[in-house]
C-alpha cells in the first residue's frame, strides 16, 4: 500500500479549477519528484494536501496511510506525520525558534497521546540537529525567521522537519533562493531523513535539486494533472527539452 494515495483529485481556488483529476501514489521509503511549469498547480497540490483554507476539493480523494487526509484540520494532518516545507517560510515575530518548535512538537505528541518531551532531551536533540545543518545555535533563540535570509529560512524549515520527525514530507520549491553551498547543506539534511518508514514529495521547477536529492520517480504536472511519470532520467529530459511538449499534451 502506498503511504500517500491521491485519486482523481479536483481542486478549485476561487472560480478557477487548478487541479483537474490528479492521481499519484507514493509508497513508503520512496522519494518522488513533481516537476512542472509555472501555474501547473504544484503549490496548489502541496497546500491542498496540507489543508490550507481557500482550496476547495470538488472531487477525488487523498489518503495518508489509508486515512482520509481531506477530512482533517491542518494540525491534525501534522500530528499524523505530514510536514510541508514552505516555499516562502513565514516570520513569527517574538517567538524564538526553539520555543516554536518545542510548542509544535508537544502539540503533536499530545494529539497522538504521547508524553511531552523533556527540556533536556529537547535541547540535546536540537543541538545535534542544528550542528548537522550548520545552524548557529544562537539563531534558534531569535524570533523564528525574522530577518533571516532566504537560505537561512530554508535551513530552518529542514531543521524543523528533522525535529518534528514526520512520516510524509512535502518540499515545496525548497531550492528556490538557495546558493549552491546552502543547497548542498539542505539536500544533505533531507537525505539524512530518508528511510524505509518515510516518503517524500519533492516539488521543484528545476532539475538542479534532483542532482542532490535523487528521486525514485519523477512526475510531470501540467494543467492540473500528472501527464508523464518516469525514472530520474525524465528530469534530465525535461531540463534539456523544456515543458512545452507536456503543456501541449495537457491542453
Amino acid at each position: 500500500m502506498s503511504m500517500l494515495s491521491v485519486n482523481n483529485l479536483h481542486v478549485r481556488v476561487g472560480e478557477a479549477e487548478i487541479i483537474r483529476g490528479l492521481s499519484l501514489a507514493v509508497p513508503a521509503g520512496e522519494v518522488h519528484a513533481i516537476m512542472g511549469p509555472n501555474g501547473a498547480g504544484k503549490s496548489t497540490l502541496s497546500y491542498t494536501l496540507a489543508g490550507r483554507g481557500g482550496y476547495e476539493v470538488t472531487g477525488g480523494s487523498a489518503t495518508l496511510n489509508g486515512e482520509d487526509l481531506l477530512a482533517l484540520e491542518p494540525n491534525e494532518r501534522a500530528a499524523k506525520g505530514l510536514f510541508l516545507s514552505f516555499q516562502y517560510p513565514l516570520e513569527i515575530p517574538g517567538v524564538p525558534g526553539l520555543t516554536f518548535i518545542r510548542t509544535a512538537l508537544n502539540a503533536q505528541r499530545k494529539a497522538r497521546g504521547e508524553a511531552e518531551i523533556s527540556a533536556p532531551e529537547f535541547l540535546k536533540l536540537a543541538r545535534a540537529e542544528a550542528a548537522k545543518l550548520k545552524i548557529d545555535f544562537d539563531m534558534l533563540k531569535r524570533p523564528l525567521n525574522v530577518g533571516f535570509s532566504g537560505g537561512e529560512k530554508k535551513r530552518m524549515e529542514i531543521f524543523q522537519m528533522a525535529m518534528l520527525s514526520p512520516h510524509f514530507l512535502i518540499l515545496d520549491e525548497t531550492d528556490s533562493g538557495l546558493d549552491i553551498d546552502a543547497l548542498k547543506i539542505v539536500a544533505e539534511g533531507v537525505n539524512a531523513l530518508r528511510g524505509p518508514d518515510r516518503a517524500m514529495l519533492v516539488i521543484t521547477h528545476y532539475q538542479r535539486l534532483l542532482d542532490y536529492i535523487r528521486p525514485d520517480m519523477v512526475h510531470v504536472l501540467a494543467g492540473g494533472r500528472i501527464v508523464a511519470s518516469g525514472g530520474p532520467e525524465l528530469a534530465l529530459e525535461l531540463e534539456a527539452e523544456g515543458y512545452d511538449r507536456f503543456v501541449k499534451a495537457a491542453a
Binding site: 494540525n75 513565514l90 515575530p93 517574538g94 517567538v95 520555543t99 509544535a104 502539540a107 503533536q108
Partner: protein, 489 residues
C-alpha cells in the same frame, strides 16, 4: 516556554470570565445618590479628620462645575451619577482587621481569585518563589493588608489609604493631590470627593522595598462604583515595585470605576508600577454590562535621576479610558510606559500615556501593543512634550497594533510637542493583521487554531510581558489568551 504551554492549556480550558461570581455577604451601603451629605457620610465612615473632609467637599464643589469630557474615542450613554451607591462595605469590625478576624466568606472570595492573603501560604510556596505583600480592597474598603510587620521592620509603610489618613496624616497631606490636583479632570475630581479606599505606600530614603507590593481590587456590590485612591511615595534613593489586579462580577448594568493613582519619586528613587486589569468586559455578543474604567494615573519624577516605569496589561472593562503618565520634572529623570491593551467583543479602549519632559536630559520610552478582535475598538493616544528649558530630552515611542478578524478597529493618535530644538523624539508605529498565512504556517506545524492565535499573540506582546514581574507575566499571558478566545474563524 513554560508560559506558552500554560497559555495553551488555559485556552483549552475554555473559560470566558472566571472571576464573574458574586460573594453573598452582608454589606453596608451609603444611601443611593451623590451630594455633599454622601461625601460627609463617607468621610465619617472612615473616621477622617476635618481637613480631609474639607478637601473632599471642596473637590465635590468643583466637580459640580465641571462637565464630562467627550474627546475620547469611546461611546457610552450618559451616566446617571445619582443612580449609584458611592460606598459599599462588607459588614465587619472597624478598619482592616487581622486575618483571623476577616469574614471567612471574604477569605474564600480571595482564595477563589487565587490571591494569597495568608502569609504562611505565600511562604509555604515553592522554594525561591518571590514573596509579595497584598492589600485587598473589597468594594469601598480594604479588608486586609499582609506582611505589614515585616515591611515595617524595613521602614516601609504599606497600608490602606483610610489607615494612612489616620496614622500618617503628615505624609498624606504633603503628597495627596500633589501629582493629580483635585480639579485635574472630571473623573479625578469626582474621585477626590468620594474616594473610598486604596493603598498607601511610603518607602523611606535609601530603602529597597524587600518584597513586591500588590493591591487586589474587587468590585462586588451591584449598582456601586469603585473610587479608589492610591498614593505611592519613594523617598530619595528608594525602590519599590507595585502591582495591582482588578476583577468584578458579571452584571448587566455598567459600573463606574474612577480611580486616581499618584506616584512620587524623589532624587534617585525608582518606582515600578504594574497593572493587570481584568474588570468584567461585558457580554461579548450584546455588549451589555461591564466596567467603565476611567482612571487617572500619573507619576511625578520629582527628584533628579528618578525613574518611574508603568506596565499595564488591559484585558477587561467595557470601556478603558486612561493614560498612565510621567511628569519628568527632575533633571536626568526617566519614564517608561509598557502597555498591552486587548479588546474583544464590544469592548472599547482609549489608552496610552503622557511623557511631559520638564527637567534637563530627561528620557522616556513608550512601547504600546494594542490587539483588537471581534467588534472592538482600540485606540492608542499619547503625548510626548518638552518645554523650552528641558534641553536634551529624548523619547522613543513604538506603537504596534494587531488586528484579528474583519470587524475590529485600531487607531493611533500620537501628539508630539517639542518646544526645544535639542529634543530627540522618535516615533514608530505599525498596524498588522494576524495573517491567514501565519496561522496556516503555525497550524501546519501541529497547533490548533486557538493555540496558533495564542502563540502569535504572545509573540506580539513579548516585549511588554518581559517587563512584568515573573509570576504576573504568566498570569498576564493567560489573560491575553482567554480574552481573545473565539476571535478567529
Amino acid at each position: 516556554m513554560a508560559a506558552v504551554k500554560q497559555t495553551i492549556e488555559t485556552v483549552e480550558a475554555l473559560e470566558r470570565y472566571k472571576h464573574g461570581f458574586v460573594t453573598d455577604i452582608d454589606q453596608e451601603f451609603a444611601p443611593k445618590g451623590l451630594n455633599a451629605d454622601i461625601v460627609r457620610f463617607i468621610s465619617a465612615k472612615k473616621d477622617e479628620p476635618e481637613w480631609m473632609l474639607q478637601w473632599r467637599l471642596e473637590a465635590f464643589e468643583r466637580w459640580l462645575a465641571l462637565e464630562q469630557p467627550t474627546w475620547a474615542k469611546v461611546q457610552f450613554p450618559p451616566i446617571d451619577y445619582q443612580d449609584a451607591y458611592y460606598y459599599a462595605a462588607p459588614k465587619t469590625k472597624d478598619g482592616p482587621a487581622s486575618l483571623d478576624e476577616v469574614d471567612p466568606d471574604l477569605l474564600a472570595t480571595y482564595a477563589k481569585l487565587g490571591i494569597p492573603l495568608k502569609e504562611q501560604e505565600v511562604l509555604a510556596g515553592v522554594q525561591g518563589a518571590a514573596k509579595y505583600a497584598v492589600d485587598a480592597v473589597f468594594d469601598s474598603v480594604s479588608v486586609v493588608t499582609t506582611f505589614k510587620k515585616e515591611l515595617a521592620e524595613a521602614g516601609v509603610i504599606f497600608c490602606s489609604m483610610s489607615e494612612a489618613i489616620r496614622e500618617h496624616p503628615e505624609l498624606v497631606r504633603k503628597y495627596l493631590g500633589s501629582v493629580v490636583p483635585t480639579s485635574d479632570n472630571y473623573f479625578a475630581c469626582l474621585n477626590s470627593a468620594v474616594f473610598s479606599d486604596g493603598s498607601f505606600v511610603y518607602v523611606p530614603p535609601g530603602v529597597r522595598c524587600p518584597m513586591e507590593l500588590s493591591t487586589y481590587f474587587r468590585i462586588n456590590a451591584a449598582e456601586s462604583g469603585q473610587f479608589e485612591r492610591t498614593l505611592i511615595i519613594a523617598d530619595a534613593g528608594a525602590y519599590v515595585s507595585y502591582l495591582e489586579g482588578c476583577t468584578a462580577p458579571m452584571r448587566d448594568e455598567n459600573q463606574l470605576h474612577a480611580a486616581v493613582v499618584e506616584l512620587v519619586a524623589l532624587d534617585d528613587a525608582e518606582i515600578k508600577y504594574s497593572t493587570v486589569q481584568n474588570w468584567y468586559p461585558g457580554d461579548p455578543k450584546t455588549g451589555k454590562g461591564g466596567i467603565y474604567n476611567f482612571v487617572t494615573k500619573r507619576a511625578d519624577c520629582r527628584g533628579a535621576r528618578s525613574k518611574v516605569s508603568w506596565t499595564q496589561v488591559e484585558t477587561g472593562s467595557a470601556i478603558t479610558w486612561k493614560y498612565p503618565s510621567c511628569v519628568l520634572r527632575g533633571d536626568d529623570s526617566s519614564g517608561e510606559f509598557y502597555s498591552i491593551a486587548v479588546t474583544n467583543g464590544r469592548q472599547q479602549a482609549d489608552t496610552g500615556t503622557k511623557m511631559i519632559h520638564l527637567g534637563k536630559n530627561t528620557r522616556s520610552r513608550i512601547i504600546s501593543k494594542g490587539i483588537s478582535a471581534g467588534h472592538s475598538t482600540n485606540t492608542y493616544r499619547g503625548l510626548v512634550s518638552t518645554n523650552q528649558k528641558a534641553t536634551g530630552a529624548r523619547n522613543f515611542t513604538q506603537c504596534d497594533s494587531l488586528l484579528i478578524g474583519k470587524s475590529c478597529a485600531a487607531h493611533t493618535v500620537p501628539y508630539i510637542e517639542a518646544r526645544n530644538a535639542s529634543a530627540k523624539f522618535e516615533h514608530e508605529a505599525t498596524t498588522t493583521r494576524l495573517s491567514e498565512d501565519q496561522l496556516f504556517y503555525v497550524m501546519q506545524r501541529g497547533l490548533s487554531q486557538e493555540e496558533a492565535v495564542a502563540l502569535l499573540v504572545n509573540g506580539f506582546v513579548r516585549e511588554v510581558l518581559q517587563e512584568l514581574p515573573m509570576e504576573f507575566a504568566v498570569e498576564a499571558q493567560k489573560l491575553v489568551a482567554i480574552s481573545l478566545e473565539g476571535s478567529v474563524g
